[in-house]
């Protein structure tokens, strides 16, 4: 089967988009991942279905699972063409860029046939149940447990930092199934239906006041055996694939994302407009800061290109996505600081109804989230030094010990 050339595809996509997808109003705000409602989710499902019906959904997924079997170059062309249109961006992360490729790598044939087409059709939004309140960076230290009981698993415990769980359908969930095994060998990865008795989803208010993340509580939630991904007690292998795809996703190198939240240019225009509005267009220090943000943003895109090619050619190991996460996280934090400094006192006190600059204040308060979400920058530095540079691994006190005997948090100094 011969593949359509990228340029032919681009022309066809352009025409289809113009005829079918809603155009964004000029100057419409870029999609804001921070504040998504159930209505937004319903709208995203509808648009995703539209793409599917037009043959423009799941471009890089295999045809047998509802995709189009095209190349990353086709996807890049489509993402360029769809900029002026409203897109179901909510499906990109984690559903398409993290969960779906993990299922592709590690799921059973039945799991792939059941869920991948449903995602691509817009029927299933997914989230990750990975982090735990007690866990920090140590994902393999999961305390959430699943017990085999009468032909099914029963899930108990709690997960946190899952985005959008309150309107999503399924989750991929890492749970401990053997407490006598050493840490990494007693874990299993499950598919969990979110809307069912025993699953409670609470929303978490962020330090900037927005609500995006959730915490879930599990009380004897039943999971059928066919919902195990990979092998029982081999969940860490699945988790590592998932983390790999997460690094690609947050680093910007995933071929499964379709459309982007704003072009590069829009994103610097934001700071350009702020600089002008603050009356700093002629201020040399402000100009330096603005240019610094633009330089870093440009270099980030260049670094993504380089690292993706390096991984493709084998010049860099597959863990090189950590370079992108580290660069991206620290750049986003720096950008938040520059925005805050450019905004001046408007970011600190503002009139009701004149909140434009206030988001730079809130962005500064929430700044470190960019260095925490998707794996902290500390974890990325560990990965880069240990797996890319081959430096010795950190000594861990939990190796070779039954997990039940590993030391855990003391005190309750969380305030």
């Amino acid at each position: 089967m011969s593949t359509e050339s990228v340029e032919d595809f681009r022309a066809r996509a352009r025409a289809w988009l113009a005829a079918n997808m809603p155009r964004l109003a000029p100057g419409a705000p870029a999609w804001n991942a921070m504040d998504v409602s159930e209505q937004d989710a319903a709208r995203a499902r509808e648009l995703q279905r539209k793409l599917y019906d037009g043959g423009f959904a799941g471009l890089c997924f295999p045809r047998e699972y509802g995709g189009q079997g095209l190349t990353p170059a086709h996807q890049r062309a489509f993402t360029e063409e769809c900029r002026p249109y409203e897109m179901p961006l909510l499906f990109n992360t984690p559903t398409f860029t993290i969960i779906a490729p993990t299922l592709l790598d590690m799921g059973s044939e039945a799991q792939k046939r059941r869920h991948l087409p449903a995602m691509i059709r817009g029927d299933e939004l997914w989230v990750q149940f990975m982090s735990e309140p007690s866990g920090g960076s140590d994902l393999a230290g999961a305390l959430t447990s699943a017990k085999w009981d009468g032909g099914q698993w029963l899930l108990n415990g709690s997960k946190i930092w899952s985005s959008y769980a309150y309107f999503s359908d399924y989750a991929i969930c890492l749970a401990r199934t053997d407490w006598d095994a050493v840490k990494h060998q007693g874990l299993t990865m499950f598919i969990v239906k979110i809307r069912q008795p025993g699953v409670t989803v609470n929303r978490i208010r962020q330090s900037d006041g927005a609500i995006e993340f959730c915490q879930e509580f599990f009380d004897d939630v039943p999971i059928p055996p066919e919902n195990v991904i990979g092998q029982v007690n081999d969940g860490w292998t699945v988790a590592q694939r998932l983390l790999h795809h997460e690094r690609s996703s947050t680093g910007g190198s995933s071929p499964y994302a379709s459309g982007t939240a704003g072009t590069r240019k829009e994103s610097i225009d934001d700071l350009v407009e702020l600089t002008r509005r603050a009356g700093l267009a002629g201020d040399r220090t402000a100009r330096q800061q603005l240019a610094e943000a633009y330089v870093l943003q440009t270099v980030q895109v260049q670094l993504v290109d380089r690292v993706v090619k390096g991984m493709e050619t084998g010049a860099l190991p597959t863990t090189a996505g950590a370079l992108l996460r580290l660069f991206g996280g620290t750049f986003a934090a720096r950008r938040a600081t520059i925005g805050f400094e450019l905004a001046g006192s408007d970011a600190v006190a503002w009139k009701a109804g004149e909140e434009r600059a206030s988001r730079y204040g809130h962005g500064y308060v929430f700044r470190q989230a960019s260095c925490l979400g998707g794996g902290s920058t500390e974890m990325q530095r560990n990965i880069i030094s240990e797996r890319i540079l081959g430096m010795p691994r950190e000594p861990a006190a939990d190796r070779g010990v039954p997990f039940k005997d590993v030391r855990r948090n003391t005190g309750t100094s969380r305030r």
Binding site: I204, S207, T285, S345, A347, T377, E378
Partner: protein, 381 residues
């Protein structure tokens, strides 16, 4: 606090800490944030501890500490920072000090006692919404009239402007700095509460639309307020610095506890060298923040001619470093550090606000550069 505190200073510190921990622990601060800021009864009780009179002369009912009151105020500011406390400490102290130094008999006899007792609250109207907080940037016009002056202009952001009965307005009459004490309900004055980053401290925009005041509103003589304004400004810089030093120091303390208690990969976070080295940097910056804030306050207390420069140095150093300490402590906390539930964002909001209020680090550095470069011979004294 500085390491050579006298016994009196230590007692004062203890009384502040006891009061704040009992009356406005962080849970209370959060509730106040929802309901509109500090409680008046609380403020009167705070005033009874001497908070409002530290720079007021004994004959005006003050503490009679002389200029040394600045050091006590610094202790108070650090403690306010440690618990992200509400309350108009900074504007009250500044206005009371100036009234005691330069106020008329009537202002000292009628107004000052009520400020000292906490019955009434005063705000200082300095900034005018531009980038600069320096007294040189003040433009609010005081136009002479037959019976006094007419004030026209906008002051924003004004700390505690929404709660103040009295406004100390820094203006220009005939181009020279002049200060007035104006009731907040005077005709032509409009106060609009602003929304803000700091959950416990509020700011307002105060408009003066041709506000007529009589001669008796003058604080000091017309055109003669430069020295008072400079001193007020120095105090504001040094106190904001001390407060940020206190806030960052407290955050560092509880983050260190967290690092001891929190286990990752079977080891406490505190055992990871990469984190240990960042804690070492933060400890160094934190001590430096305390050092420079204390030095600025000591210079103000000693009447050191370098006080203005030292206050700018303190404000620029703490403005750069206190927020970075708190941000890295957020990072140390991981995900919980960016939730509303965790108190660390209260501190981050406070130090971020202090960084901006009374001038950002870059403005103060520019002023410092001016003293180094723009004076003949580069005299840096």
């Amino acid at each position: 606090m500085h390491f050579e505190a006298s016994e009196e200073q230590t007692l004062f510190l203890d009384s502040i800490r006891r009061f704040l921990e009992a009356e406005t622990p962080l849970g209370t601060v959060r509730r106040l944030a929802e309901t509109g800021g500090f409680d008046r009864g609380w403020w009167r009780r705070a005033a009874a501890l001497g908070w409002t009179s530290l720079l007021v002369a004994e004959e005006d009912g003050g503490a009679g500490l002389g200029d040394e009151g600045a050091i006590y105020l610094g202790i108070l500011a650090e403690e306010m920072g440690r618990l992200v406390s509400p309350g108009p400490v900074l504007p009250s102290a500044i206005v009371a000090a100036t009234l005691s130094r330069s106020g008329s008999r009537e202002q000292r006899d009628e107004v000052l006692p009520e400020l000292i007792s906490g019955e009434r609250v005063a705000a200082w109207c300095l900034a005018e919404g531009g980038r600069s907080w320096s007294p040189e940037a003040i433009a609010l016009e005081a136009e002479p009239t037959s019976h006094g002056f007419r004030l026209s202009g906008v002051k924003t952001p004004v700390e505690a402007g929404d709660r103040a009965e009295l406004l100390l307005v820094t203006a220009r009459a005939d181009g020279a700095l002049t200060q007035f004490l104006v009731p907040a309900d005077a005709p032509g004055v409009t106060v609009e509460l602003l929304e803000g980053l700091d959950l416990a401290r509020r700011f307002a925009e105060v408009r003066f639309d041709g506000v007529d005041v009589s001669e008796s509103a003058l604080v000091g003589r017309a055109g003669g307020a430069a020295a008072d304004v400079e001193r007020q400004f120095q105090l504001a810089l040094a106190l904001a610095s001390a407060e940020s030093a206190g806030a960052a120091g407290r955050v560092l303390e509880f983050t260190l506890e967290w690092a001891f208690d929190r286990f990752s990969f079977g080891r406490p976070l505190a055992s990871y060298q990469a984190l240990k080295h960042r804690f070492a940097d933060m400890k160094t910056w934190s001590e430096a923040c305390h050092a420079t804030a204390s030095a600025a306050l000591a210079a103000i207390a000693a009447g050191d001619p370098a006080a203005g420069r030292l206050a700018r140095i303190a404000k620029s150093y703490t403005g750069d470093h206190a927020p970075e300490i708190v941000q890295d402590c957020v990072q140390m906390h991981g995900g919980i550090g960016v939730t509303w539930e965790h108190d660390i964002h209260l501190y981050l909001r406070r130090v971020a606000t202090n960084r901006t209020m009374y001038g950002e680090p870059a403005e103060h550095r520019e002023a410092i550069a001016a003293t180094l470069l723009d004076v003949a011979g580069g005299e840096a004294a």
